[in-house]
Symmetry: C2
Subunit: 201 residues, 2 copies
């Protein structure tokens, strides 16, 4: 992925360069979260990180590649979902996945980058492409690998769709009563649906 | 709603004024669809409609109010959902709702304004507020009225969330395989979930 390629192009990994890289990534995450993909510029990211724009290009390449690297980091907690699926018997995977996803959304620290990713992906084709690659190859396919059916990827995506839809209504657009309902009530309603998509005959 | 209020403030309804009003609304729908809420201006709408900005303000008020009127028109097919729910026994409401929603999304003419509404609501708080009012009061509450349980609104919203989530993944972000799957297969998987949210004990 981008991160690996650009590290190869950059200096040999040392404290200084990896600090700079992390500082740029943090700034990029902040900028994309605050402004969305379209209004964020490489120049703005460089300024926020206190470095020259050329250094941003040097480490990451284009704006789309900076976005991909930033999203990968922001998305990394979500990528643990596969471990969550594997953690116990498949009959409980629906509840474990649901609990895990709402855990990310209920925590302001992990909610912010998720909001930024969704906002950018909905409005910009380059951002949507990054989201597609990440969700399809890193998340959905991995979960599908754990399901023993030919339509595993479709099942994983319909399960994810229920979670995405509730997140949209609860956290992004905030429609009542779903926005203020107790999260345990939501989990109780949603987990069986997620389970059903994954394993119902 | 906005439309009624501004018509009162305007000239008595006649051919000329209602033509102008419709022309402004059509232009507004186009502008909001193409550019999203934030990049659309009353001036741009007026220009596209071939009228003076003052006339747009006269008929509709602020940009948020123009948006609300335009969205109401674009949203009006979706508001028929309540009739769809009422059309037959409640045990079939899940499939009827699901079929109806995918019918709107599969048709390019109705898909475009739905895309515009979602994109605007996800990225702009004023647009989200319009969406909330419309979805909550005009759609969810009406469907909930047909369900005979105390948690009817939450049920209607969780059902809608499954539909919104699939629409996000299939039509907005376009993640495979859900984006290219046969719509009848999607309906067969999703309708029982929608039904379950509405009526499961």
């Amino acid at each position: 992925m981008t991160g690996v390629t650009s590290r190869k192009r950059g200096r040999p990994p040392g404290t200084e360069s990896s600090d700079t890289r992390d500082r740029i990534l943090t700034a990029a995450r902040e900028e994309f979260s605050e402004r969305g993909y379209e209004k964020t510029s490489v120049r703005g990211i460089a300024k926020a990180a206190g470095v020259d724009s050329a250094l941003v290009h040097h480490y990451f390449g284009t704006k789309e590649q900076v976005f991909e690297a930033a999203v990968e980091v922001a998305f990394s907690p979500a990528l643990k979902m596969r471990d969550v699926v594997l953690e116990g018997p498949i009959e409980g995977a629906g509840e474990r996945m649901t609990r895990f996803v709402f855990g990310l959304w209920e925590n302001p620290v992990t909610r912010k980058p998720l909001l930024a990713i969704i906002r950018s992906a909905v409005n910009n084709e380059a951002a949507a492409a990054v989201f597609r690659r990440l969700v399809a190859t890193q998340l959905m396919r991995r979960i599908a690998d754990e399901l023993d059916t030919p339509d595993a990827e479709l099942r994983a995506e319909l399960a994810a769709a229920q979670l995405v839809g509730v997140a949209m209504m609860r956290y992004v657009i905030r429609i009542e009563p779903v926005a203020s309902a107790d999260v345990e009530l939501i989990i109780a309603r949603v987990a069986p649906v997620v389970q059903g998509h994954l394993t119902n005959p």
